[in-house]
Amino acid sequence: MPPDARTLADRHEARAAWWLIAPTAVLMLALLVLPVVAVLVLSLTDAELGEPVVNFLGLQAYADLLSDRDFRGAFRNTALYVLMVVPASVVLGLGLALLIEAEARGRALFRSLYFLPSVSLVVAMASVWQYLMHPSFGPINQLLRLMGFAGINWLGSSDNALMALAVIGVWQAIGFNMVLFLAGLTAIDRTLYAAAEMDGVRSAWDRFRVVTWPMLGPTTLFVATITIINAVKVFETVATLTQGGPAKATRTLLWAIYKEGFVYLHVGAASAMAVVFIVVLLFLLVIQTKVLDKQVHYR
């Protein structure tokens, strides 16, 4: 083939390739990239909905944001919430999965029971929790008093409200985590347990340490990632039960963004928060895929 014909064919192919990816590329640009770029641009301004004048603030917008006590509070609350919800719901989800896996009877029943919170509507269930956690006639406090403890003002005190939301968050996440762990458990090669037994692994703890836990590595990483992302996005319980209060104790990132953007109509400030929010999530995803993923797949 002469060189000219070759380059011509190459060019034809390249043009065809562009045409073939064009629909997807356009859609991706319009639906995924452009909104993010728009938020990025808005975040550098003091745009307000209905205000005709928009000033460009540049990075000053972020400086303002980081020095804003309310935003820092929201950031801290979200981090605290994640730190409470993620370990508890991962450990409890794994524990439940191990218990259900160990006993053949009633497996389907327990699986569905614990999965119920994940498929129920949080907004609807929130009213139930409000009743359960009511300081005077809520069953939780009545039970505590029956056992001789003082009742706790779950949602009404700024010391406890975030923890109360975390309890609900754990309740929500456990079932889903359990189902994921159950899937991970069934995927473990049974001969590894046989090999461990032959190697003198006697106790359930050693079996867990030598086979189950390492083999669940990829599952655990996935569960932790999903749980973290969901916990960072906490919104419904805040919106329905505490409205960010009392005394801003349950103002979380998403609630702050919502208030800023949809109540005060500060589109610019809300965008800056959203950018911070996206950066946090991206950071977590990068840690998952680049760092931890290598360690749990044992290559």
Partner: protein
């Protein structure tokens, strides 16, 4: 008399209503290599797992040197097993994989704790001792260079060696191997056969080796236990199992290509007849009873001219295999046809001929009654050929 090193005694097992094993009796002498061979689903792996203690028998006992192990769990039987999938711990290095069985037995639960355990009294010395033994075993298996690698970084053959190393390192009372070579490619498989036999010879430990590959079983084992339909049909040296099979099923299972089976009957002169053609004499069975006449492919003689005891066949195809050739023939009474194993030059001489005569070379036939039991032939000089 010393009890057998490993004795499987009256073992029976069923899964639900499906019987898997029945009336298994197998005594293995000290240092013996026994192959359990059978088609898939014959229960050989289940029997191995029962010997290991990974499965409980419904009936019967597992004895190690006369000691009843049936109630003991696998971890307490001091046997080692090599699995078909190798079952290496993927998160551990080769060194850690091989050290685990020693660590589990010699270190207390506290001593095995990461970091902290190393500080406990006695832990350091024991750990060093374990490392030395791991390294010694690794170098005897030529995997010392791989000690710091993880299983995913190893080839199939290397993983196989690590699995063997993990079994060897603690000098168990018995080796149990479950199709350890079936995941390797053909060349490596043949090579590893020799290595495993060598290892066994050096270790001198009872070995129970499960395989579906009769070539492996015949080639490696001191004795072969042929398992069919959940029973051991015959336990004997490879030579005897092949030359003198206990029944029709063993005769058809062992040997490749399969033994040729011709329907026949016993005539009044105690001769085996196939149609009007006589194939053997001195048959110990009532005149007129129906029998199967089995002729191994290498004993089937093909000639252009009829011999006194032969039957006419048609040559369909010659399969040339290098050192030998297989002649596929058809005959009227034989829906499955007959196969003769011939030297290649003999086969080349037959190539253009269609009508041939088949006979049993030197009268080497195996006779079975209709229930598949062996029929004896009285001892006498071979018929004049």
């Amino acid at each position: 008399m010393t009890p057998p090193a490993l004795h499987l005694c009256g073992i029976a097992k069923s899964f639900g209503t499906t019987p898997v094993l029945a009336g298994i009796d197998l005594a293995v002498a000290q240092g013996e290599f026994i192959a359990l061979v059978g088609p898939s689903g014959c229960g050989k792996s289940t029997l191995l797992r029962i010997a290991a203690g990974l499965e409980q028998p419904d009936e019967g006992a597992v004895l190690l040197a006369g000691q009843d192990m049936t109630a003991r769990r696998a971890a307490d039987r001091d046997m080692a097993m090599v699995f078909q999938s190798y079952a290496l711990y993927p998160h551990m290095t080769v060194r850690q994989n091989m050290a685990l069985p020693l660590a589990m037995r010699r270190l207390s639960a506290a001593q095995r704790l990461p970091l902290l355990g190393a500080l406990l009294p006695g832990s350091r010395a024991t750990r060093q001792c374990i490392q030395r033994e791991v390294e010694a075993t690794a170098s005897s298996l030529k995997i010392a260079a791989l000690l710091e690698r993880k299983p995913a970084q190893l080839s199939g053959g290397q993983r196989q060696r690590v699995a063997l190393g993990r079994a060897l390192v603690r000098h168990p009372r018995a080796f149990l191997m479950d199709e350890p070579l079936s995941n390797l490619d053909a060349a490596l498989r043949v090579h590893m056969r020799t290595e495993i036999v060598e290892l066994h010879r050096r270790a001198g430990v009872v070995t129970l080796y499960v395989t579906h590959d009769q070539e492996e079983a015949l080639g490696m084992a001191d004795r072969v236990a042929v398992m069919l339909g959940g029973r051991i049909r015959q336990v004997a040296t490879p030579d005897v199992v092949y030359r003198d099979p206990a029944d029709l099923d063993v005769a058809s299972f062992i040997g490749s290509p399969r033994i040729n089976l011709l329907p026949g009957q016993v005539d009044s002169a105690a001769r085996a007849q196939c149609g009007e053609h006589i194939l053997a004499d001195r048959v110990v069975a009532a005149a007129g009873s129906a029998i199967h006449v089995g002729i191994r492919p290498e004993h089937l003689h093909l000639s252009a001219e009829p011999t006194p005891w032969s039957l006419p066949v048609r040559l369909e195809r010659i399969e040339f295999l290098g050192a030998e050739a297989l002649a596929h023939c058809s005959a009227d009474a034989m829906p499955d046809g007959l196969i003769a194993r011939l030297p290649p030059d003999h086969a080349a001489g037959l190539r253009r001929k269609r009508a041939l005569f088949a006979s049993a070379r030197d009268g080497a036939v195996l006779l079975f009654d209709t229930a598949g039991r062996r029929i004896a032939q009285t001892l006498a000089a071979c018929h004049a050929a």
